[in-house]
């Protein structure tokens, strides 16, 4: 890595205006992330329009801060209300909420903030080491490899929707279908425009994102709005004691790298990272019986892991332009809207931007840990603001955001349709990430596929030519059949065990 560009990024991120954006973004993100049921994806989707008219670097810094803030905020509602905002915050409820119930809310908040902070730092270090080599590797990718990489990402994200893979496929296919709307860039053919001129440019995927993550989530939360419990919690001193730190120290340091690696993998992300680190710690702990009853390390480990995963997930996003999860897909949407095209070339063409981004995540971590510990009283007060007031405001923001995309109220109807679709998906327990991901990478996927086939005069053999392609195909097949293989192995073991029992 070039040290001078890194330093340049650091100085840019430290400019007073940019620091201010980090603070504002972190604060706004924390607030939206704290709302029960809403997570980082919603926070970024709703707050995208705030970056209008800003220069791309500041806008990027603001988006990163919002994303990060929402991760921190998500832990607040997990710990205090037992309502995680998204998948990656679920593991924080296992021990965080019991701690809060035992009157240790302050300690829990402090541990979670510090663990997130350290996890984030570990991951930023990993980012610096890994990002550039990976970008150089990605330069070798042609259309065929890109197509296969996207296929792998989609299949990985589907196979992770364990127990509902059929629904995952349906979600992905709807997303792919939506991505074909509009003029076909290779031939100029109009597809699915229904004679509406506005649709000739296709459906802006930001509308899909805002519709599903903002409108859909709010509609879904209306189901339980009259039942949301009011819990007054005494926060107490926001710091942990020596014993808690001693128990959490190593779990935090172990979970950081685990989370980072999981985050880099396509399709995985924060939810898997935090689950893996939680179960790992539970297995190796001498006090595993305390897990689930308010063990500080049971909170520290997943918090460290999910934060470092969120940084790790930025690597495939920035180096290859491929988001690994729903939340990073939303981030990709924000980047593209700012005129930044992530991919291997970004590191060549705009290293200053990349390193400013990385440094702003680093500084954002520091700022957020301060916000979350110093301003905890204020944050808890905001958490007291009735959701009944905040949800309508989020709806209004979703509409404003949509309007700023194309200055046309026609998009409002699309927004409502996707909001309703989002509600249906939640009601019928469909995973949302495959749909969002497919909408975003869909048209690139198709174009890469056709370019690859075109370059080989119509032969599909082009997908089996390079070792990279073959590796990607093998990984795709493995990811799809992994759940099945695991099931077979488990069944066989069980059979084996029962036979042994019979024998004995």
């Amino acid at each position: 890595m070039d040290m001078s560009t890194f330093m340049q990024g650091l100085t840019t991120a430290l400019e007073p205006m940019n620091l201010l954006w980090i603070v504002i973004g972190g604060f706004l993100g924390t607030i939206v992330g704290m709302l029960p049921g809403l997570g980082p994806a919603t926070a970024v989707a709703v707050l995208i329009p705030v970056t209008f008219g800003m220069d791309p670097v500041s806008a990027l810094i603001l988006m990163a801060a919002i994303y990060y803030g929402a991760m921190y905020g998500g832990s607040r509602s997990s710990i205090l209300l037992n309502t995680p905002g998204d998948g990656s915050a679920i593991a924080a409820t296992f021990d965080g909420y019991p701690m809060a119930r035992k009157g240790m809310a302050g300690q829990a908040l402090a541990i979670s903030a510090v663990a997130s902070f350290i996890g984030g730092l570990i991951a930023v270090a990993g980012f610096i080491l890994l990002a550039e080599p990976l970008a150089n590797f990605a330069l070798k990718f042609g259309p065929a490899e890109y197509f296969l990489l996207m296929l792998l990402t989609l299949s990985a994200i589907i196979s992770l929707s364990i127990g509902r893979m059929v629904k995952g496929f349906i979600a992905m296919l709807i997303g792919l279908m939506l991505s074909t709307f509009g003029i076909d860039t290779q031939t100029g053919v109009y597809r699915f425009t229904f004679d509406i001129p506005h649709l000739s440019e296709g459906i802006d995927f930001l509308i899909v994102i805002i519709g599903i993550y903002a409108v859909g989530e709010v509609l879904y939360n209306l189901l339980t709005i009259d039942k949301q419990k009011k819990e007054k919690k005494k926060i107490g001193k926001v710091w942990f004691d020596k014993d808690q730190w001693k128990r959490s120290k190593w779990p935090i340091l172990r979970s950081g790298p685990i989370g980072f690696i999981v985050g880099v993998l396509p399709g995985a992300g924060g939810s898997i990272a935090s689950m893996i680190s939680y179960t790992t710690e539970k297995q190796i702990s001498k006090k595993s019986e305390e897990f689930g009853e308010g063990a500080p390390e049971g909170l520290a480990a997943p918090e460290s892991a999910n934060n470092s995963a969120s940084v790790g997930a930025m690597i495939p996003l920035l180096t290859m332009g491929i988001p690994g999860s729903g939340t990073t897909a939303v981030m990709l949407g924000a980047l593209i809207m700012l005129g930044i095209r992530p991919g291997p070339m970004l590191f060549e063409s705009d290293p200053g931007l990349v390193w400013t981004f990385v440094n702003s995540m680093f500084i954002g971590n520091i700022v957020l840990v301060i916000i979350n510990i110093a301003l905890v009283g204020l944050l808890v007060k905001i958490l007291d603001t009735p959701a009944k007031v905040l949800y309508p405001i989020i709806l209004l923001l979703a509409f404003i955001g949509t309007y700023t995309l194309s200055y046309s109220a026609i998009d409002f109807f699309l927004l409502i349709i996707f909001g309703y679709l989002g509600l249906l998906f939640k009601l019928f327990d469909f995973p949302i990430a495959p749909l969002v991901l497919a909408v975003i990478v869909g048209s690139d996927m198709e174009q890469n596929f056709r370019m690859a086939v075109l370059s080989s005069n119509g032969s599909l053999g082009v997908f089996f030519q390079s070792p990279i392609s073959i590796g990607l195909i093998i990984l795709t097949i493995l990811s799809l059949f992994y759940p099945l293989i695991m099931k077979l192995i488990r069944n066989r073991k069980r059979k084996h065990a029962s036979e042994q029992r019979k024998g004995a």
Binding site: F52, R191, L219
Partner: protein, 149 residues
């Protein structure tokens, strides 16, 4: 509730048939391979149809199982709440460019607050609707230079 539960797979099957027929009827390209723009949508909609049918069969098998979220949907005031929210949103979409941002947003936000937060808290509702609409109008159109109607 059963009808609603089985409605989803049926809707998906109809949707995929719609896409499949639409894909088959797409115009051929004058440039390059005439079927180039057709392969992908046809393939995707065909797969969508297959998976929707699998889903339909899966759902038929467990039609009698309870789904908490859907139960919630049909309980108390929720169906009304969601339906009216969507109606308000449609109204807002129609009103937005005609009545201008500020007026339509105050009406929309106010209406939502009265619906969700309840008419008892009408002072809060009014204050929030007016102030928040005004702040967002000021922030977007004055500070960020977004031209709002």
């Amino acid at each position: 509730m059963k009808a609603f539960k089985i409605g989803m797979p049926i809707f998906l099957i109809l949707l995929s048939v719609f896409f499949l027929v639409g894909s088959l009827r797409l115009p051929k390209a004058n440039l390059g391979n005439p079927y180039g723009p057709l392969y992908f949508p046809i393939g995707v909609s065909l797969l969508l149809l297959i998976f929707s049918i699998i889903y339909f069969i899966q759902e038929l098998r467990k039609l009698t199982e309870d789904n908490e979220a859907i139960k919630e949907l049909f309980s108390g005031r929720t169906p009304k709440l969601i339906g009216i929210t969507i109606l308000f949103a449609i109204g807002y979409s129609l009103l937005f460019e005609r009545a201008g941002f500020l007026l339509s947003s105050i009406v929309f936000l106010g209406a939502l607050l009265f619906l969700i937060n309840g008419p008892k808290k009408w002072i809060t509702n009014l204050v929030v609707a007016v102030i928040f609409s005004f702040i967002s109008w000021y922030a977007f159109s004055e500070m960020l230079g977004v031209s709002l109607p």
